[in-house]
């Protein structure tokens, strides 16, 4: 009763490199036991602990699979040709048991299911700006199981961030945003890979950072970075999930996806510097980034899952006061300088210059400046120049320099009659930017002796009077 048993090549290391063995068993079970008694280490790769064949291991006898016969007790006749053949199979990412439980509410949605959850796990999303928008976006995408989340920011957590940036708490004050965010997100979902890009996104590094991701979320708060993110996404062919917030208004759209428009199709050039105040100047309702950011996260998941109607060719406006969502139709501009048919921008440019920021700085050189030390010594010498504080009312409540006149920035132009055009005026704000604008305004109105307090009240607090609170 001698038959031959052919050993598959990877297992020949267990049989002293023999490709086939002579065996004498009367059925397959006996043949295998013969093999295992001679070469015990091979057993674990063929059999489960319960003495059944591993489900991917097939045994063929004279060209027939024993599973289609009598299994392990299939008879072996003389001169049989017995072969061990792996059923070679495999596939993409699987979910661990823990993940199956964690994502069970996704798995029961037919639109997501196990395949969808695996797509989410395989996806890589870059979030530019980890602030008001980046907080909800990163929290929800991490919770949803996005496999790789990249975060771009260079700032530290400031007390005034906590009003809306729900990623952070008081313990993170003055600490790196990315370090704090990663810690929080890891605690929320340890299955996700978090990549920190603790840099100022620039024309030099943007392509290199963005290229490794599938989707980019724009959570930036300034025009140069917004145009930079847009152009980099167009050049690399990545969808740009856009969101922006100001006071009580928000906007959401998806740019550069499925032949839809890019940000430049809508806004070919930025507004003049200073026209649109930043959130720091204009304020923002704390809950607003929560609403807009979660809408961005929603669109990102829909892109990953390829489900639903995306915000492509659509522009959503949200008015929190009126509680109104308005949708605009937008179209790709064939003449767009970056995504049109004949683009003139084929590499990243200088976005600060494009947005007029450097010109603005040049303009400031015309303004006379005064240092906090100089002002201090003037006051000590008993002089009483007019010191104009142009900050908002609530800021004055936090901290003020004694003896100043307070007129909020927006009111100055209408209250010029309160200011002597021939006297010396020293203008200050928190750090010197808003007061510079007011200096220019006063100079335009023929005020002769106008000076900007360099570094504002923050500098005054640091160098002159530490009793004044820094905020």
């Amino acid at each position: 009763m001698t038959s031959t048993l052919k050993i598959p090549s990877p297992l020949r290391s267990f049989t002293n490199d023999q490709a086939s063995l002579n065996v004498n068993g009367k059925n397959i079970k006996e043949v295998l036991n013969e093999l295992f008694s001679e070469y015990p280490d091979i057993k674990g790769h063929l059999m489960e602990d319960d003495e059944n064949l591993r489900n991917f291991v097939n045994i063929f006898i004279n060209g027939e699979n024993i599973r289609q016969k009598e299994g392990l007790i299939t008879q072996v006749n003389d001169d049989s040709d017995i072969r061990i053949i792996p059923s070679i199979a495999g596939g993409t990412i699987d979910l661990t048991q823990e993940e199956l439980i964690r994502y069970s509410r996704h798995l029961s949605l037919p639109e997501v299911g196990e395949d969808g959850q695996k797509k989410i796990k395989a996806s890589k999303v870059l979030i530019v700006g980890v602030g008001g928008l980046g907080s909800p976006v990163s929290l929800y995408l991490a919770a949803a199981g996005v496999g790789t989340i990249g975060l771009v920011d260079f700032d530290v957590v400031d007390e005034s961030n906590l009003q809306r940036q729900v990623l952070f708490g008081v313990n993170q004050k003055n600490k790196s945003k990315l370090e704090s965010a990663t810690k929080r997100l890891k605690n929320l979902n340890p299955h996700t890979i978090y990549k920190s890009h603790e840099v100022v996104l620039s024309s030099d590094n943007a392509l290199d950072i963005i290229k490794d991701y599938d989707i980019v979320i724009d959570g930036t708060d300034n025009f140069p970075t917004r145009y930079l993110v847009n152009d980099a996404c167009v050049l690399l062919g990545k969808p740009n999930v856009y969101g922006s917030i100001y006071r009580f208004d928000g906007q959401v759209s998806i740019f550069n996806y499925n032949k839809g428009p890019c940000y430049r199709c809508l806004y070919p050039s930025p507004p003049p510097p200073g026209l649109v105040p930043s959130c720091a100047e204009g304020g923002v309702l704390g809950v607003l980034p929560g609403i807009i950011g979660t809408l961005q996260a929603n669109e990102a998941l829909k892109i990953i899952l390829n489900i639903g109607d995306l915000m492509v060719n659509r522009f959503l406006l949200f008015d929190a006061l009126a509680m109104e969502f308005t949708e605009l139709k937008i179209v790709k501009d064939d003449n767009c300088v970056v995504c049109g048919t004949n683009p003139s921008i084929t590499k990243l440019i200088d976005y600060k210059q494009f947005c007029g920021i450097s010109e603005e700085e040049d303009d400031n050189s015309e303004i006379d400046e005064i240092s906090v030390y100089e002002l201090d010594s003037i006051l000590r010498n008993g002089k009483t120049p007019l010191i104009l504080d142009v900050r908002e009312k609530h800021e004055v409540k936090i901290a003020k320099i004694e003896g100043t006149v307070h007129i909020p920035m927006k009111e100055v132009e209408n209250r010029l009659d309160e200011l002597d055009a021939n006297g010396e005026i020293i203008v200050h704000c928190k750090s010197g930017a808003r007061s510079a604008k007011i200096c220019k305004l006063l100079m335009k109105h023929k005020y002769k002796d106008v000076k900007n307090l360099k570094g504002g009240i923050l500098e005054w607090s640091k160098k002159i009077d530490s009793q004044i609170l820094q905020y």
Partner: protein, 145 residues
């Protein structure tokens, strides 16, 4: 860490195969020799993915195709040293499903194909205790040894 030695031609062949079969998973064998701790590849054979459904996420090699490839290898005095497959739009790391269907000794080469273009490949070997895959070194040589 084990090592697999391949010619650029073999690598190009399987990458081309992976791109051609996108968005489905492709599979194939590399024939060659086991020498000491190294596996040396001499040729790539493309094998049809006989999975009937969900071919974007799964592949299956018909046992007969395996048998034929092994016979061919034996005739040439070679062995099947590696099983190659693609992960369309997924990373080039093995899944739990891959691990359950693997043997030690084979080099499992997984290539990631993103939107039809190859995006990296890695070779993995199953640990003797079957608990995990370990990354393998891939050495690329110009000419066949």
């Amino acid at each position: 860490m084990s090592e697999i030695v391949l010619t650029q031609d073999i690598i190009d062949s399987f990458l081309k195969h992976g791109e051609k079969d996108y968005p489905f998973e492709c599979c194939g064998f590399i024939l060659g020799h086991f020498i000491d701790e190294k596996s040396i590849g001499t040729e790539y054979i493309a094998i049809p993915n006989t999975k009937e459904e969900n071919k974007e996420r799964r592949f299956l090699i018909d046992p007969m195709a395996y048998q034929d490839a092994e016979d061919l290898a034996d005739e040439k005095g070679l062995s099947i040293i590696s099983i190659v497959h693609s992960h369309p739009d997924h990373p080039n790391r093995p899944s739990g499903f891959d691990r359950k269907h693997a043997w030690p000794g084979f080099s499992y080469i997984i290539m990631s194909i993103k939107k039809g273009t190859s995006a990296g490949y890695k070779s993995w070997a199953l640990d003797q205790d079957r608990t995990k895959f370990i990354g393998e070194k891939i050495t690329i040589i110009k000419e066949e040894i």
